[in-house]
């Protein structure tokens, strides 16, 4: 744990409430994410973890509560705004552009960084081509980093699941985010793939200083990777502390295992 959670607060959610009809998905959840840390969000199925991520990057509009990001307050985030301000995200069940190659998927991640307009793109010459190549270079570095050189030209729909998850991480990295939200980056992976993924997450955090918030069910992974853990159960926050402390918390144990008697 080289990056101790000592940095300033990058993002904080305060008393977020989210309701779908009669279902209270989140009730008064507050926590913060500090710059440079790896923050885990855990909880049993249906606890509201993914809903929380959806609130943070603007897919859901909370009924109540405030999101503070870089010192500014919002009653809701918008996906476009989140993207422009360096919040990237991967999805629980891989949301890649299936018809496109790995390379094109990653290049699409650079969309916001490409400035040349429509008519330059029509010509595909001079400055437009220079820009394309500059971003190709950046994407190739990510391809290198994630060790996916061999599948550069393969349409991602044909890739095995583990690799798809890796490409999705690559696409998120291509946007050069400040805050990376990972929704169960290791589901459905075998041990080796999990180890690779953990290594990538740690390296991204250590090398590029990227702040990471991740949802994960594998407790071993969560305990090893994260600096601090938030535990949700039925839409409520039941614990928020260092992994070792959370592990001992009676409320957490009760949520996962049920209470005897």
């Amino acid at each position: 744990m080289t990056n101790a959670a000592a940095g300033e607060t990058l993002l904080a959610v305060e008393e977020i409430c989210l309701r779908f009809g009669g279902v209270q998905a989140l009730s008064e959840v507050s926590f913060d994410i500090k710059r440079g840390e790896i923050r885990a969000i855990i909880g049993p199925n249906g606890a509201g973890k993914t809903s929380m991520l959806n609130v943070i990057n603007g897919f859901y509009r909370p009924n109540r509560g405030v999101i503070r990001f870089r010192g500014q307050s919002f009653t809701r985030m918008r996906p476009g705004f989140a993207a422009r301000n360096g919040i990237a995200r991967t999805f629980q069940n891989v949301a890649l552009f299936r018809g496109m190659t790995t390379l094109d998927n990653l290049m699409t991640g650079r969309t916001l960084k490409m400035k040349r307009g429509f008519f330059w793109q029509l010509l595909r010459y001079g400055p437009a081509m220079d820009e394309e190549i500059e971003h190709r270079r950046a994407v190739e570095e990510i391809i290198d980093f994630l060790e996916i050189e061999a599948i550069r030209r393969v349409p991602v729909g044909r890739l095995p699941y583990g690799l798809q998850k890796r490409v999705e991480l690559g696409r998120a990295l291509a946007t050069e985010p400040e805050l990376l939200l990972l929704d169960e980056p290791m589901t459905g992976m075998n041990l080796e793939e999990k180890e690779d993924m953990c290594r990538f997450i740690l390296e991204v955090n250590a090398q590029f200083g990227m702040t990471i918030a991740l949802i994960e069910h594998d407790m071993g992974v969560v305990m090893d990777l994260s600096n601090r853990v938030v535990v949700l159960d039925y839409g409520r926050k039941i614990a928020d502390d260092a992994p070792a402390v959370v592990k001992q918390d009676p409320a957490v144990i009760a949520a996962y295992l049920g209470v005897a008697g």
Partner: protein, 358 residues
């Protein structure tokens, strides 16, 4: 052995991102262009040019237009016929108002109105997708065809209700109208189609094309990357409609010579949609293959059936034709549901390893 990329290394991203990175493809492309530009017009008779080549190119262009929308952006449309009509009528009005200006300028300008109207009819695409969008564009198609019939201003209050193409010259050579030779019209058609195809291929290989495909494949993730959905979809509608409009103007000015509103009916929309699907969604090459198959197959059959000694009434030949074309289309779709372009990809893959099976 013929189609092998072994030994062709790319030392820079510039050559690696080229649209034809493999030498054989580049050579093949040059050969095709040489044949199209020189051999076909020199040796082709007026049947080949007027019945086969010119319509094929125009249909191919219209198919590219629809493919950008449906194949690349994933938005279904049945408004192609109407939008082609917009291009034709715009070009007609402009050519009437400004007879001095080069007709090619007006053919290309015809697409601009089509782009504006296409983008307007694309606005519902933010809220609706798939079949529902198809119905919305169908409404546009019916409205446009109604306008072509009922607004006399569009056809200069002609008694017949037709638009008649005036004779216009380029460098002293008649390009449109009854005096233009098929060879001239063919060359002009070919030039426009080649230029627009090159531009379209630039677009689909660039940021713009990637955003379109991203919206097609997973709009939620696209939005999260920062691709704004409505502007991206509208741009696709506009570019697609522009190309359809130019194709429509060419249809009347470089092929038919005169046209009435019914030319731009829903039938035309369906024809172009079939060409797009059979050629292969999301492939420019497929647009040409699809247009070639659907346009040329009936012509070939019309000549084959009497040619093999069957003495049939013309009406019977026509019926047989429809049946055979229909059966063949089903056959192609069963063999390769992803279109002729994918079939070509498979052939290329086989050629790469030939004579070994894999």
């Amino acid at each position: 052995m013929l189609y092998r990329e072994v030994g062709q290394y790319h030392a820079s991203y510039r050559t690696d991102t080229a649209i034809f990175p493999i030498r054989q493809d580049r050579v093949g492309m040059l050969v095709i262009l040489a044949v199209a530009f020189i051999i076909v017009p020199v040796f082709g008779n007026s049947f080949l040019l007027d019945v086969v080549a010119i319509p094929f190119l125009i249909y191919a262009l219209a198919t590219i237009g629809l493919n950008l929308l449906t194949g690349y952006t994933g938005l279904l449309s049945l408004g192609t016929g109407g939008l082609m009509g917009i291009g034709a009528y715009t070009c007609y009005k402009l050519a009437t108002w400004f007879p001095g200006v080069d007709i090619i300028v007006w053919i290309l300008a015809g697409g601009v109105t089509a782009a504006a109207i296409g983008a307007l009819f694309g606005v519902p695409s933010l809220r609706i997708k798939g079949f529902y969008l198809l119905v919305a564009t169908l409404a546009a198609q019916f409205f446009l065809q109604w306008a072509f019939e009922r607004v006399p201003w569009l056809y200069n209050n002609n008694v017949s209700g037709d638009i008649e193409v005036p004779t216009r010259t380029l460098l002293g050579l008649p390009v449109t109208g009854p005096n233009a030779t098929p060879a001239t019209r063919y060359e002009v058609t070919l030039c426009i189609v080649v230029v627009l195809t090159v531009l379209a291929s630039h677009l689909v290989h660039s940021r713009v094309g990637r955003s379109w495909m991203a919206v097609r494949d997973m709009d939620i993730a696209a939005e999260l990357i920062g691709i704004p959905l409505l502007p991206t979809k509208l741009l696709s509608f506009a570019v697609s409609s522009y190309i359809s409009g130019v194709a429509g103007a060419m249809l009347v000015f470089l092929w038919y010579g005169s046209a009435e509103a019914s030319v731009f009916s829903i039938d035309l929309s369906f024809t172009i949609l079939f060409m797009t699907i059979i050629g292969g969604l999301g492939s420019l090459l497929g647009s040409f293959l699809g247009a070639a198959l659907i346009h040329m197959l009936p012509i070939a059959l019309r000549n084959v059936l009497p040619g093999i000694g069957l003495d049939l009434r013309p009406a019977t030949v026509e019926h047989l034709n429809l049946m055979i074309v229909g059966a063949l289309i089903i056959f192609f779709l069963v063999v390769e549901p992803l279109g002729l372009a994918r079939l070509w990809q498979t052939i290329k893959q086989k050629l790469r390893v030939w004579p070994f099976p894999y």
